[in-house]
Symmetry: C2
DNA sequence: TGGATTTCTTATCTTTTGTTAACGTCCGGG
DNA sequence: CCCGGACGTTAACAAAAGATAAGAAATCCA
């Protein structure tokens, strides 16, 4: 299996074994809904292969919040942690090989996570890292134009642009597919693509 | 003194006393720079009275990232935690009464924070809460127009609009002061303000 | 009080983005 | 092999936002 969490949390071998055995392998086609907006999330997923998208309904429009790829874990974090109706839908973009763990099992395994100061520190570091990530994402919206953000995405996360349909990327950038098409055309004219 | 942290972390009385005594009272006028972009942050501030703004230089333009008010703590989190040059400037908007603690003292007091599982859990909860906050802030940029975001700010954080100069709010919303002025005019015409 | 600074508004023009609709391409299933 | 859905591009027009400049209003403080 993979070691996404292992790398971060440095679980002791025994716990790691226990942790692993709760995971369930799942193979699904593209455009499979893993969690519907409004449902209460019971599963956290690890991606072995494929791409998953988190999006929400915006006045009938499908708006992407985030993309996830190999060796990343994905869930509706708020719903999974707080057991409240999910504000977002989780859906595969490509055919995927996933591994999921049930909330109850994860709670079981992590029930005593705070009893080890090293684990607590690692968890806190992981959460802080995520906080910084979202802070930077916010700043990119305040600071840069859609065109700039597209160029940045192209530079920093080319795999997203290569593997995700363009209209999903448009909503991820906060613009319409038509506008993104125009931006791309202009960038091509200017030789920036 | 106040109890911003206390409410969140539920420190034992003894630790709380120790914690408090490291704080230094500081009174400053409006437009005082508490931390300059590029400096390494050594101080975390608690606001007793006043308003503080975190902003960054964007091609010579002054762009606001966040506002902080009474009973909130403010610092350049990344710089303070990692001891790297700050990507942002921290500056007072109004005359302020502040209380600051030195990084070294805070580390001292919190050195054994992870030894208590209850504290660890509380800290993790606080970090998760912040993660959600920034996630929601990102979503508001993808989901809503500047006009919508202004109306939302008016509804959810009227104190910001009452106490902060409008051109700071404009950059906080990711638009120009001129554009915000137009949006306000339109909202007034439509009786929404 | 009065002058300087900061802040806000307005006007004009340009650029960007949204909206809607049409059209072409690609791809998978019947 | 054709059909239909999904995807991308383009066009035309409307709406919104940026840039710049000028001037009014508010605020500060000496």
């Amino acid at each position: 299996m993979f070691n996404s969490y292992r790398a971060v949390l440095n679980l002791p071998e025994s716990k790691w074994e226990e942790f692993q055995c709760y995971y369930n392998r799942l193979e699904v086609p593209a455009r499979t809904i893993l969690l519907q907006e409004g449902e209460i999330s019971k599963r956290a997923y690890l991606i072995e292969k494929g791409c998953v998208r988190v999006w929400f309904n915006n006045d009938g429009m499908d708006t992407t919040f985030q993309f996830f790829f190999e060796n990343e874990s994905v869930s509706s974090v708020e719903s999974f942690r707080r057991q409240i109706p999910s504000p977002v839908t989780v859906e595969t973009v490509e055919p995927c090989v996933l591994h999921w763990i049930h909330k109850d099992d994860l709670d079981q395994v992590f029930g005593d996570i705070y009893s080890d100061p090293a684990n607590s520190a690692a968890l806190s570091e992981m959460l802080f890292e995520r906080q910084l990530h979202y802070m930077k994402h916010c700043i990119s919206f305040i600071k840069h134009s859609p065109a700039d953000r597209y160029v940045q995405l192209l530079r920093e996360s080319p795999h997203i642009i290569q593997r995700v349909p363009q209209h999903y990327i448009a909503s991820y950038l906060g613009i319409t597919p038509v506008s993104l098409s125009r931006i791309r055309k202009k960038l091509m004219r200017e030789g920036k693509i």
